[in-house]
Subunit: 240 residues, 2 copies
């Protein structure tokens, strides 16, 4: 399988600019063959402003950007795309717009069958997985399904946050929320990607990149910690 993915936890890291913390990863991932990237701004309300932000940043790395919402036919735009980048924002809004524009299966086909490189950030990382069941976002709109593009057979929790032992807030911790997910039947494993970390998938090889550990939750097992550089290829096969 020629699948190529770069799944980033967060678009902006504290103290840095938009995509600054992963710009060398982006350059390495898209490489010199890619000239134009199709950007999907559906997760934010102002699609033009969002596309400008992505365009300015990727231009500085040597890539032209087309906004999928600028195309007369978004499906045709995906069919012609050299590379796809889905940005962060609200995951429910994003997934609903992907369904409304008939892009879920089209993107899946392009990435898994044609080997088109796919980059996602935050919500764009969520929708690359099995489902959006482990997003942190507020359900501001109702998508026709929580099933997502399914480029990998596991789920991701972006912006993964450790429990703050000093907190007086009584809402569930992130770990408790993921544990609740695993109380449900037939739920895949969940990789908690802390801010600063990302996953690169090349065919059947998965590597954790960035500067922070990831925390893996498997149904009925103790969570495990994985350091940057770890080979997580087992997530593609036996970790469900």
């Amino acid at each position: 399988m020629s699948r190529r993915l770069l799944l980033v936890s967060n678009s902006t890291l504290y103290g840095g600019g938009y995509l600054q913390h992963c710009e060398h990863n982006i350059s390495h991932f898209f490489g010199k063959q890619v000239k134009r990237v199709l950007f999907v701004p559906y997760a934010l309300h102002d699609r033009d402003a969002y596309t400008k932000t992505a365009r300015d940043k990727l231009k500085s790395l040597g890539y032209e950007v087309d906004g999928v919402h600028e195309a007369a036919d978004p499906v045709e735009a995906v069919r012609k795309a050299e590379a796809i980048f889905i940005g962060g924002g609200n995951t429910f809004r994003l997934l609903k717009a992907l369904y409304d524009n008939n892009l879920v299966n089209e993107i899946k086909k392009r990435v898994l069958q044609d080997g088109v490189p796919y980059m996602g950030s935050s919500a764009g990382t969520n929708v690359a997985t099995v489902s959006i069941n482990t997003t942190n976002d507020m359900p501001i709109v109702y998508p026709p399904s929580f099933s997502a593009i399914g480029l990998v057979p596991f789920n991701i929790n972006p912006h993964y946050l450790d429990t703050d032992p000093n907190s007086r807030h009584m809402g569930e911790t992130r770990e408790q929320r993921i544990t609740q997910y695993h109380e449900e039947l037939n739920t895949p494993c969940v990789l908690g990607l802390r801010e600063g970390s990302m996953l690169q998938v090349e065919g059947n090889t998965v590597t954790l990149l960035g500067t922070t550990n990831a925390r893996l939750f498997q149904r009925g097992k103790e969570p495990s910690e994985h350091a940057p550089g770890s080979d997580l290829s087992f997530l593609l096969t036996d970790a469900q």
Copy 2:
């Protein structure tokens, strides 16, 4: 309209026991006429354990508790209920189970037409409003709709949390999330109920109770702060 509601932000306040911070409000709300309360434990996985927790607490206040899941026919149990209490946990799981058991309309009818007192806590407060679009919970299951019981014409964000100016975490703040909700068309106002606060509704009168301010978000307006004791009855009419 004979509607009577007690909508609590959180089941447990830091440093206290289950429902301890609002026990005098509960006693005052159910009063001496109510003898038995129908408890809905659907928001947590272990319904028996959860019902025991609620039963022990309410027994100490003088009320017997029946778990709706213990009834052969949950709809019939709602039809016979003297009072209803829906507990917190995962809002998606709760709302899906309410639909699966055909209780959404039945509870609405009992509360709005028959004047059966309704108490909700956290997720149980969310499902009493227009929709669960402003829950904080992880979408671990897919309910057939985000529309909720609709006992009031506005939404609530329980466990409302102020922005922490010292945080280095880059996920959206609670206020940003609610603002994103209001970017969508035809969205009702959202009352952010901080932990420690609750809303009592008696017919067409709404009063903020508890120990913390509430923050009100109306589409296209600046948010406003309201102190305990405030009359928020305008939320029932002109605040959409």
